[in-house]
Each structure stands twice: as structure tokens, then as C-alpha cells.
Symmetry: C2
Subunit: 221 residues, 2 copies
Amino acid sequence: MNRLYHVPLSPFCRKVRLTLAEKRIEVELVEERYWQPTPDFLRRNPAGKVPVLRMDTRVMSESQAICEWLEDMMPSPPLMPRDADGRYEVRRLCAWFDDKFHNEVTSKLLYERVNKRITGQGYPDSKNMKFGATRIKTHLDYMAHLLDQRRWLAGDAMTLADFTAAAHLSCLDYVSDVDWDRHAVVKDWYVKIKSRPCFRTLLVDQVPGLLPPAHYADLDF
Amino acid sequence: MNRLYHVPLSPFCRKVRLTLAEKRIEVELVEERYWQPTPDFLRRNPAGKVPVLRMDTRVMSESQAICEWLEDMMPSPPLMPRDADGRYEVRRLCAWFDDKFHNEVTSKLLYERVNKRITGQGYPDSKNMKFGATRIKTHLDYMAHLLDQRRWLAGDAMTLADFTAAAHLSCLDYVSDVDWDRHAVVKDWYVKIKSRPCFRTLLVDQVPGLLPPAHYADLDF
């Protein structure tokens, strides 16, 4: 059986989970306490991070490298365009969310509020949270700017860029940090992606001691 | 004329410069003070980061996305294997250096010592520098572990993974932060890559007020 070592509220794990589910690849989910790494875990990934995907004899890490590998091996249904310019735009936006959005928003809101508590690193830093709450607005504005011109973030087809953005936003939505009323076009995009069968696995996630808001799993929120 | 907006001691810019030079694509280098972004610069890249590559009518950002685009458009000489497993390993290692090595080493040593001064953010934090100086040893050990089994970092051919690692290490070498005597196999690898014609552009870089050590441009150091 294929296995994904993950934590539920990690955007990088969620991106891989969405890609696996969209391509109908079944995996057993195994929660990994990466902040207390065991020798076994470090053997699977010397970087000490999740996600780690075990498929047959392969053990793979780094979410973008895993998703590109899945796309190379199982190109249907496609999550990358076939032309170089289209692929560039998908990769640029994946990096936008996994790097810029992650540094400015995910790490400032989700990690302060959830990861610090889970890993026993103390209380949230209010300066960080204020910074994240300000920056997420700019990012939602940028998404609206893109979605005013395109059906999906990177063009007219749904791609890995949409999964990457939705992976981050769905984690933040679990802790009620997304103002969906800011842009109708962004909310419409999220309703579309949230309604896909691949998204179901994320909507049943439960973090002990931290209930999601009622709208989290509601497809028509 | 193609243009690359860059700063000399940015590993992400250097990775793109190496890829362009290896593929013999001429570009005009334009230094960009990204920490004082102009409206023009933010139009070219709303993320406010370097590198930005202008080729014909295209304006591109995010170093990995740019390099993959160059590989898609100009596959010769190749910097990625043709098989999915080989490509996965290259992408995993690019992420290793651009994310893990960058967070643990480049940002702790180079940014504390050089970027803080250039951008007027004060003095280096000695705790960060100590952390970076410890972590670089582990990374050099990991490189030696890979190079004990392979001719190049991701396999038997030189790839974008080697350029990514060399881009980070060459910046650190400019400020004398690499102990090349730690592993002969890592030094041999760096001598090989440093001797390539594509590397010449990096060896003549000069940061005002900060001279590199004598061995920096020496091919037989």
C-alpha cells in the first residue's frame, strides 16, 4: 500500500493529498510528528520534513518535486499545461504560494496559532499575527486580479497552482483566517475547487482540541 | 536584448545566470535594488524579488520556474534527465538547497553579513551566524554522502541540482564561509563545476566595499 506521512494542517501535505486524490491514487495517511523525528523518519527524509510519499520501493519528499513526479508518471487528468509558457506560469504561482504566501501569511497566522501549540513552542506572537492578517489581504487582492482575467489561477484550466493556493487557504480556513467576503471572484473559485471529490479528504480532517468553524466543511458556505 | 535583473550575491540569481550561460543565452545584467522597489520593478514582478528575466516580450520570475522554462524551451545542453525518477531527484535537491540550505545556512551567514549591511538593516546577529556555521557542516556532509555514490549531486550527469548547490556555495565562498577541506569529494565537485565556462561570469563579480578572498576566483584553489 502506498503511504503518505503527513500532518493534517500542513499546506505542503495537502497539496500532495489533493494531487493524489485528483489522480485517483490511493494512499494510507500516516500522521508524522516531524518535530520529534525518529531515526526511521530521518531515514525516509533526511530533511526531516513532511510530506513523505512512499510508493512501491520509492520514498519521496519535497511537495513540488512529488507533484511534478506524479504528473510525469500519471499525466491524466492533467494538472500542468503541455506548453512551456503554461508550465512556467503554473510553477511561478506554486512558488508564489509555497514561498511568498507561506512566509508572509501561513507561517505568521497558522504556525503561530496552531503549530506552536502542537509542538510546545509557547504562545502566538501578536506582531507576527498582525503582519499575517495584513498581508493576506494583499494576496487575496492578487488572486482576484488573476481571476478577473482567467477561469483558474494560471489560465483556463485547473492546475497545480490552484491546488497549491487552495492547500494554503484551506489550512487558514480551518482557523477562520480567510475573509471570503473580500472578493466574490476568489470565493467562487474556492467554492469550485472545494466541491471537487479530491477535496473531501481535507474537509474531514480534525485536529484534536481545535474544532474548525461550521463553514469549513460546508460546500455552499 | 534579453535582460536579467539581479543582485550579484543572490544564489537564486546565480542559479539562473549559470543556466543561461550553460545554454549560451546572452543577457544584459542589470542590478536591481529590490529592497527599494520602484513601481517599474513591481510591475515586472509583483513579488518584489530578484531574479527577473526579460526575454523578448516575456517577463519571468521565480528562479526554479525560470530554469525549468529554459530547459523546456532550450533542452540542449540538458540540465534535467529525461526520465521521471531522474527529474524528481533533481527537483528534490533544488528544493533542498533553495529551501533547507537557504533557511539554515545562506540566510544565516550571507544575509547576516552582507545583505543586512547593503540594505541598511544593522549588524549581524551572532546567534544566527553561529547556527549557520554549524549547519553548513551537516550540509557539506550530506553532499559528500551523495557524491560518494554519484559523479554529480543528482546522478551521473551534471544537472540543475549542481547549479543550485553551486549558486549557494559560491555566494558563501565570496565571504569565506565554506570549509573546502572538510571533504575532498565536495572540493573536487566544486573545482569541476567552477572550471566550466558558464561559471566565469560569477567569478568576476565584485561587491563594492567587500573584496572576495584570493581563492574565490582561483580555478585551482
